[in-house]
């Protein structure tokens, strides 16, 4: 009886169910764990952190340290002794903190380590402020004076703080105006100037000596020069304006440092903030992060150009890959004679999906960039040579390379979709006198469109996360301008672009200040995941819509 029961348990398949459920659970836990880790580390970065003032025993005396606690870990006392900390520890394990002290221009380094037993006293003085600067990273200190238009104000903390806040706001406004002029207006003039230069060069190359045209070019050029001078004057005024005010801070060494407000992006006083204010700042920081340009070798500021570049590239890739993949799949499934050759083609296509992506990158560089791009330059842009137009990496070549990388996925998915269309429906159409092409176009392709969308979803997921090939065909650390702007022809496919994946690599591993940039790596990874999820969700939404429209396969 018991024997029977035992066999029954195994034969019932229950252990298999548990095994499968376990496998699914482990996968889910890993995925969710990864997302949570990225989210916590990435999102935590934007929370205004407290600034600690620590009286620290060091070299026989007491020094004052001011900074944010970046990371705290427990280490063994022996390890510390071996690392050269001269202190007779009673404890076996002590807490060690990585303190971000900022002020790189003053001290030369912006992180230092402290160990808990040596911290004689810690406090969170409300008068400490953080300045986020355009260069040299954060600045921590105590407010001493605000210099406004040459007049120095020294007053109580609150009064000075109010004054500083309003000055910083004014500077931000001015900076925005300067940015507008430099980026769009002067940018447009430069763009036109470059066009004129290319036109002159083209005339030279063609040996055309058209006095009228030359005069016209000279006239336009003079006009642009005049426009530029006018803008320059306006800029000079703004620059003088922005440099008007300064602030003086006392740093932890007691030294007083004066900082021009033109270098200050944001001033905060986190120790004096209430929770709602902190939340407000948190979201402000988050919005700045996704909407600003990067600063300081990408370790500060936002990642907007990278988000933009990623989305542009993925969209362009989708536009290229869908028709190619779908047409190839239709030919393979519907028209090609099924035999040895089609089987060979199918196997090759499936294997293409397994080729390492860097190989595609090399191919893209060798074929698209050098061969195609080089020839396009020779044929259509000879006036710009020797500087390449399409002959170096750019948005178009990156999109094409990724389209090539993802086309197998689309082909396979579309083929499967086509194979699932019931024979009866095709025959129904043919029996009404439709040709094969008409049947395909009116019945089969619409019904297979959800499968095509599935292919596209997989392609997008793969392409958006791909970095290696992009490094060869167009993604750069810092792109001077977006591939889409107000200068005709608006979409500049030849331009280099920034990409979130490459940005992660660059910030995390190529940056001069890895420790300061680490939270940004997580934050950027989070944004990349969010962008991919968003792209996929929109594709899934479209697919479900199509499925609803053509639901017959369930019959």
């Amino acid at each position: 009886m018991t024997d029977n029961k035992k066999i029954g348990f195994f034969q019932s398949g229950t252990p298999w169910v548990w095994l499968n459920a376990g496998a699914v659970s482990i996968s889910m836990i890993m995925v969710i764990g990864l997302l949570v880790l990225i989210a916590v580390r990435g999102l935590g970065h934007f929370w205004p952190k407290a600034i600690w003032q620590i009286e620290y025993e060091e070299g026989g005396g007491i020094t004052t340290l001011i900074g944010e606690r970046a990371k705290t870990e427990t280490v063994s006392a022996r390890q510390l002794r071996e690392a050269g900390v001269k202190y007779n520890f009673k404890e076996e394990f002590v807490e060690r903190t990585l303190l971000k002290i900022g002020n790189r221009d003053v001290y030369g380094f912006d992180f230092r380590l402290t160990v808990a037993p040596l911290e004689k006293s810690v406090s969170l003085p409300e008068e400490l402020i953080v300045l986020e600067r355009t260069e040299w990273g954060n600045f921590y200190g105590e407010l001493v004076a605000v210099k406004e238009d040459g007049v120095i104000t020294q007053a109580g903390v609150e009064e000075l703080w109010a004054k500083l806040s309003s000055r910083v706001e004014r500077v931000a406004e001015l900076r925005e105006r300067i940015g507008d002029i430099e980026k769009s207006e002067i940018g447009a003039i430069n763009f036109k100037m470059e066009k004129l230069r290319l036109r002159t060069r083209a005339m030279e190359l063609a040996g055309r000596d058209d006095a009228e045209e030359q005069a016209e070019i000279a006239g336009t050029k003079a006009q642009l020069d005049a426009d530029y001078d006018a803008l320059k004057t306006r800029l000079d005024v703004l620059y003088a304006d922005i440099r008007r005010d300064a602030v003086t801070l006392r740093v932890m060494t007691g030294e007083e440092v004066s900082i021009n407000l033109s270098k200050v992006v944001k001033a905060t006083r986190p120790n004096a903030m209430s929770i709602p204010t902190k939340i407000q700042h948190y979201f402000g920081n988050l919005i700045d992060f996704v909407s600003d340009d990067p600063r300081e070798a990408n370790t500060e500021g936002g990642i907007f150009p990278a988000i933009f570049g990623t989305v542009m590239m993925v969209l362009l890739m989708s536009v290229i890959v869908t028709p190619f993949g779908v047409i190839a799949a239709i030919y393979l499934r519907e028209y090609a004679k099924q035999g040895f050759v089609t089987r060979l083609v199918r196997i090759s296509v499936n294997n293409l999906a397994g080729v390492p992506s860097i190989v595609y990158g090399v191919f893209g560089l060798g074929f698209f960039v050098y061969v195609l791009g080089g020839n396009i330059d020779q044929l259509f842009y000879p006036e710009a040579l020797p500087s390449p137009t399409f002959g170096s990496g750019g948005l178009m070549w990156a999109s094409l390379t990724l389209a090539l990388l993802t086309v197998p996925v689309v082909i396979v998915a579309t083929e499967e979709g086509l194979a699932r269309i019931p024979r009866a429906v095709r025959e129904g159409s043919l029996a009404l006198g439709a040709t094969k092409a008409e049947t395909l176009w009116r019945i089969v392709i619409p019904m297979a469109s959800p499968a095509m969308m599935t292919g596209l979803i997989l392609a997008v997921a793969r392409a958006a996360g791909e970095v290696a090939p992009l490094m060869l065909v167009g993604a750069v650390k810092l792109a001077p301008s977006l591939p889409l702007d107000m200068n005709a022809p608006f979409l500049h496919l030849e331009r280099k672009f920034m990409h979130l994946g490459f940005h992660i690599y660059d910030v995390g591993f190529q940056s001069p200040n890895v420790e300061a940039a680490r939270p940004l790596v997580y934050a950027t990874a989070l944004i990349l995941v969010a962008v991919i999820i968003l792209l996929n969700l929109s594709a899934i939404y479209i697919r479900n819509h199509l499925r609803e429209k053509y639901r017959t396969l369930e019959q």
């Binding site: 019931p422 029996a431 009404l432 429209k549 019959q555």
Partner: protein
């Protein structure tokens, strides 16, 4: 082998006596078909009269559907098919090179075993064949859709919801919609491949009534497993067995006084 070919000649003669008065629509002359090396139809000789319902009966795999599908060349889609002999529509061979298959299929419509509406609205399903013919006039399309739905006895049920998805209809309604779709292009012949086998008895009855009405305007050829159905709806019946035409004649004759032993065995339920 020898006996069957003789006997089939015999019964063809007998059948042609009554079929002589009929106007002939489709003629098979020594029609054979093989899938690769497997022969499916052997020297079929058959005359299908105009504006009558002709039923093909026989056990599964006897080749009746294959023969039916040859009449509008639906078998073209299958690789490795070889045919010999002739299949004529109004005296013209349909398997010659100069025949336009799509035109042929517009003249010889077909309805399949399972309802196969397109994933479109009811209206668009019926209008599909019309649009294929290049008709763009909106009122003409609307008129013909209505005409087709009225003639397939569906108008009363769907006339007020033409824009609904065709899949919202029941199986029987879907099958009548498919028939409406087929007659909308005004064919001369309507091939029905077991049109009621996937339907419930009430829907089957409706389809049969419809066939009875349609045969006054169209030449109807129906493949069926159901002998009562064949007896009810058809004027002529052909019995096929293992790819050979065993007997063909007026339905009442074939069912009441079959001339062949095999036919008698089949219709009395001794095999098949």
């Amino acid at each position: 082998m020898a006996t069957t070919s003789i006997s089939s000649d015999l019964f063809e003669n007998q059948a042609s006596r009554s079929i002589d008065q009929e106007d002939i629509c489709i003629t098979c002359e020594d029609f054979s078909l093989s899938y690769g090396t497997k022969q499916a139809l052997f020297d079929i000789n058959l005359k299908i009269p105009t504006n009558r319902a002709t039923a093909f009966i026989g056990p599964s795999g006897c080749g009746k559907s294959t023969l039916l599908r040859c009449m509008n060349r639906m078998n073209d889609l299958i690789d490795g098919i070889n045919i010999s002999g002739q299949m004529k529509l109004h005296g013209k061979d349909i398997n010659t090179r100069d025949v336009n298959v799509t035109e042929l299929r517009q003249q010889v419509g077909m309805v399949f075993q399972k309802p196969n509406p397109f994933p479109k609205s009811i209206f668009e399903n019926v209008a599909y064949g019309l649009r294929l013919q290049g008709i763009t006039n909106k009122t003409e399309i609307e008129d013909r859709v209505e005409w087709s739905l009225v003639n397939s006895a569906l108008w009363g049920e769907v006339g007020d919801r033409l824009q609904d998805n065709a899949f919202s209809l029941s199986g029987g309604q879907q099958q009548r919609l498919v028939i409406a779709r087929a007659i909308a292009v005004r064919p001369q012949v309507l091939l029905l491949d077991e049109p009621a086998s996937a339907l419930d008895p009430i829907s089957t009855l409706k389809i049969e009534e419809l066939i009875a009405e349609l045969k006054s305007q169209y030449t109807v050829v129906i493949v069926t497993h159901n002998m009562q159905q064949a007896a009810r709806v058809s004027d002529y019946t052909a019995f096929l067995y293992l790819g050979k035409l065993i007997e063909f004649g007026p339905t009442n004759v074939l069912f009441t006084a079959p001339g062949e032993r095999q036919t008698e065995d089949y219709i009395t339920g001794r095999y098949g």
